[in-house]
Assembly symmetry: C2
Amino acid sequence: MITLRAYHPDDWPALWAMLAPVFRAGETYAVPRDITEQDAHRMWIELPRAVRVAVDEADKPLGTYYMKPNQAGPGDHVANCGYIVAAEARGRGLAGQMCEHSLGLARELGFTAMQYNLVVATNTVAVRLWQAHGFAVCGTLPGAFRHPVLGAVDAHVMYRRL
Amino acid sequence: MITLRAYHPDDWPALWAMLAPVFRAGETYAVPRDITEQDAHRMWIELPRAVRVAVDEADKPLGTYYMKPNQAGPGDHVANCGYIVAAEARGRGLAGQMCEHSLGLARELGFTAMQYNLVVATNTVAVRLWQAHGFAVCGTLPGAFRHPVLGAVDAHVMYRRL
């Protein structure tokens, strides 16, 4: 049983252990592959409006997401989230569970839509997952992501109203 | 004759005098309408990779644009720009001139594409102008911008390769 709860500062080492390999791999996030731990903390914990942690029965972190306004001012009713699942917890539906949770949290926080700015088009598992949770591919950015293996690949902008 | 040149710190008061009414109006930029001068300076001058100023024969600033990577890491080959024309200089093709100049500068700086994240769809003059400079509407975000007069309006993501 996985539950979602608020982030506590004690979680950071476990979260960084999930985030670092994903950022270092450079296959899914538009984040510098050599991002420092301090910058990652700023990006995932300090700047967002909310951070949640997915934990098992023993309160062990297995995933996390952040939520922030995607734009400022007249665009700040659209939320943006990023999700990361620990390597050992993949294939158990955790990303979908976090997505669904984030849609509820976004509504609670007063957002009326959610946008993913850059979903790597070759990551078809992710694209299909977000579609299953109500997101549409609003547009495709040609060659907007430099994949370390595949080279320049397209990226989707995905969006849904809440 | 309008020319484009690098920004000098002395330009700031003239630039802020152009930016403030546009941000206060809240009709085109996803920037807080009550943004402080300090935050605007940070956004337009400090954070971007480059800032240019359009000046007349007397070196009077009539427009400005900033350029920055639209994303970090594997997405940092795509540039993003914002353009503002002084109220008294509108209707003279200055926005198009700045757009064309920015495309050249982006190539010089090594960018291989340019993206506008939020072009208010009701601003048809801007949409057509960017299309005339090679941008395509890659996608449309339903209701992603709260226009002060029109309410929630769509916003386009516009993109072109360089």
